[in-house]
Symmetry: C2
Subunit: 118 residues, 2 copies
């Protein structure tokens, strides 16, 4: 037996902006979202091939709970897709804007503390 794997998602109208921004504020998750936007639905393993499984689940769950991605079980795999339309209808232009300002993978590991007095 065993109940098939199901996933709870917030309704579109319940997606909260601060939560979405928080979800996107983590480099690992932002990178996941970038991949999803680029390639469409993906197997969760392809989203983070090098991550421990439990870490992967943690991040995909957070993305799902914040309304950023839709998750469905397919066999033993876990297929993940961006909720582009839902996000667009709720926060028009947000995903596109965020991703366009994000140069792939490089540029990580900021030190800050930099900057002048102006």
């Amino acid at each position: 037996m065993s109940a098939a794997r199901t996933y709870v998602h917030p309704d579109t109208e319940d997606i909260s902006l601060p939560r979405v921004l928080f979800a996107l504020s983590e480099p690992l998750r932002l990178e996941m979202v970038r991949k999803l936007a680029e390639r469409g639905e993906m197997d969760s393993l392809d989203l983070g091939p090098d991550l421990p499984r439990s870490t992967l689940t943690h991040h995909t769950s957070l993305l799902r709970e914040s309304g950023v991605v839709f998750v469905r079980a397919e066999g033993r795999k876990c297929m993940i897709s961006l909720r582009e339309q839902d996000l667009e209808s709720r926060f028009s232009g947000l995903v596109e804007t965020v991703l366009s300002g994000y140069e792939s993978d490089a540029d990580q590991g900021h030190d800050d503390r930099a900057g002048g007095e102006r």
Copy 2:
């Protein structure tokens, strides 16, 4: 004597998207940014009239260090403004997009956990 109050700001090119998103992911700070976008430069006290001073300083410092706002001392006060142009040149459309998807002050205190199975 005593060195006048000065504030360190990251250079425009060093503003990091994840950090900006994180700064905006806190409802209190997002509300501050909304006010700044609406009214322009503001006295820090007007940004959070009900907050303890140290809490206010904490949030304004985080916004400054992440490159979202510019801070300058004016007498004993602390004037804060959005770095609109810098943000625009770095992440075109981001601030406008975020704020347009944010309905002022209401709509806070989400419960989540809601949502169906889809």
